[in-house]
Amino acid sequence: SIFEYNGSAICAMTGKNCVAIAADRRFGIQAQTIAHDFQRIYGMSDHLYIGFSGLATDVTTVANKLKFRLNMYMLRENREMKPETFMAMVSSLLYEKRFGPYFVEPVIAGLDKSGKPYVGSLDLIGCPMVTEDFVVTGTASEQLYGMCESLWEPDLEPEDLFESISQALLNAVDRDCISGWGGIVYIIKPFLGKKRSYLPNCVWLLTPILLEGIAFEVAVSRFWPIKGVEKMPLERNFFDQYSVFCVFGSVFGCVVVPLIAQSIESVILSAILISITANHLTRRNNSSTEK
C-alpha cells in the first residue's frame, strides 16, 4: 500500500485551553530507515499546526502548497485564518485532486482567536472530521486509537497533556515497525501577551541611583554617628562613612527593582552599583584597619 511506503504516526489532542500535536520522526523507504529527523508537523501560523501522514514527498509538497495558500489569504484579508476555515481550505486542496490524489492524511491542531482548542483530521481526498478529544493518523493509527482512548481525559493541563500525548505516541509506535525512531511534540497555548515592565526601562535605570541618593541624604541628615560633629566635611569620601545606608539603598534598588522590572539593563546597572558599593566598603574597611 502506498501509505505503508514511508510509514508514520501522528496524533493530536485537546486539553484545557491548549492543544498538542505529536509525530514520529522516522523517514524510511519500506524496511530501510534513512533518517530520524523527518519533519511531519508544520507550523502554519502561531496557533495553527498541521501534521501529515503518508507518502513523504506528498507531505512536503502539500505542506508547501498549503503555506502558499495560507500566506495569500493572510495577505489579502489582513487577518489570521480560523482553524475551521483552514480545515475547509485543506479539504478543498485535497479534493481538487479527487481522481489523482495526494497520498497524505492530514491532522490539524489549533486554537481559535478566543483560545478554544480545535483538532481535526482529513482523509486523502479531503473528507473532514472534527472531534472534541483527539485525532490520529498514520500506519500506527490503530495503535494510536487504543493509546489515546485510554490516556486521554478532558481538560488536561498543558503539562499533563504533554505526558498523555507523549506516552500515547511512544507506545503506539513501539508496536509498529515502520514508524518511530524518535518523536516530537508541540504544545500550543494561547498567547497571553509579552511580559512588560510597568514603566519604561530608563526609569528602572534611574531608580537604583535615586534610591542610593535618598539613602545618602537620609544618612547625612539623621544618622550621623560621630558625636560632636554637625556635618560631614565634603572632602571626605561619602561612601566610607555611610556605607551601611548606601548598601541598604543599593541592595534595595539593585535587587528588588530588577526583579520587578525584569529587564536586563537594570540588572546590569545593579551589578555595577553593587560592585561600586562593595569596592567602597572594602576601602573603608581597609582604611579603618590602617587607622
Binding site: 489579502r76 484579508e77 475551521e84 475547509a88 481550505m89 478543498s92
Partner: protein
C-alpha cells in the same frame, strides 16, 4: 497626452447621468437608497428591484446603466459563492469589493470590451463591522462613511457632509438617506418610486414598500 482614458471618462459620465443613489454607514449598520422612477404609470414597479442582495450580509446598489449592473451583480454573487465553497466561510465585504473592482478593471484593459457604465455602492457587515464601498468603472474602489452617486451627486455629498455625524444610529441614517434623495427628487416621493436596503448586525435586507412607507411618513 493628458493621461485620461476617455472610455473611462465616458463611463463616469454615464454614471453621473444615472438615477441618484445614496449610501450611509453608521456604527451599527449601513443604508443604501435609490430613486426608482419610471416614465409611465404602466410600469410595474415592484416586479424588478435595483437594490440587490449578494450574500446574506452584503447588498449592492448602482448608478448608471442597469444592464451593466446586472452583469456585475451575477459576477459578484458567483465570486461570493466561490469563496464560500473554498473556505466554508462568508466572504468579508472588503474581499468581495476587491474582486468586483478587479473585474471592472479587467474590462478597461482587455480587447474588444468597454468599461462598465455603472458605479456600485456595496454595503456589508461582518466580524469587522459595517462597511460601505464604492466601485468605479475604472476599477478603483473607495470606502465611504456616506456618499451620493448619479445625478446631483455633488449636492448630495454636500448635504451629507452637513448631516452626517459619527454617532448616528441606523434609524437616523435611513431618515437622512431619504432626505438626501428628496433633495434631487422632482415630484412626490412614494414607497413605489424609491428603494431602501438596510445592513444591520443580522445581515442585509431590502425594505418592503410598506416599511418604506412608514419611514416616508416620518419625514
Amino acid at each position: 497626452p493628458s493621461g485620461k482614458l476617455v472610455q473611462i471618462e465616458y463611463a463616469l459620465a454615464a454614471v453621473a447621468a444615472g438615477s441618484p443613489s445614496i449610501g450611509i454607514k453608521v456604527a451599527n449598520g449601513a443604508v443604501l437608497a435609490t430613486e426608482k422612477k419610471y416614465k409611465s404609470l404602466l410600469y410595474d414597479e415592484n416586479s424588478t428591484h435595483k437594490i440587490a442582495r449578494i450574500t446574506d450580509k452584503i447588498g449592492m446598489i448602482y448608478s448608471g446603466m442597469g444592464p451593466d449592473y446586472r452583469v456585475l451583480l451575477r459576477k459578484a454573487r458567483k465570486l461570493a459563492q466561490e469563496y464560500q465553497m473554498k473556505y466554508q466561510d462568508l466572504i468579508p465585504t472588503s474581499q468581495l469589493v476587491e474582486k468586483v473592482a478587479s473585474v471592472m478593471q479587467e474590462y478597461t484593459q482587455s480587447g474588444g470590451v468597454r468599461p462598465f457604465g455603472v458605479s456600485l455602492l456595496i454595503a456589508g457587515t461582518g466580524d469587522e463591522g459595517p462597511y460601505l464601498y464604492q466601485c468605479d468603472p475604472s476599477g478603483a474602489y473607495f470606502a465611504w462613511k456616506a456618499t451620493a452617486l448619479g445625478r446631483n451627486h455633488v449636492n448630495g455629498k454636500t448635504f451629507l457632509e452637513k448631516r452626517y455625524n459619527e454617532e448616528m444610529e441606523l434609524e437616523d441614517a435611513i431618515h437622512t438617506a431619504i432626505l438626501t434623495l428628496k433633495e434631487s427628487f422632482d415630484g412626490q416621493m412614494t414607497e413605489d418610486n424609491i428603494e431602501i436596503g438596510v445592513v444591520n448586525s443580522s445581515g442585509f435586507n431590502r425594505l418592503t414598500p410598506s416599511e418604506v412607507k412608514d419611514y416616508l411618513a416620518a419625514i
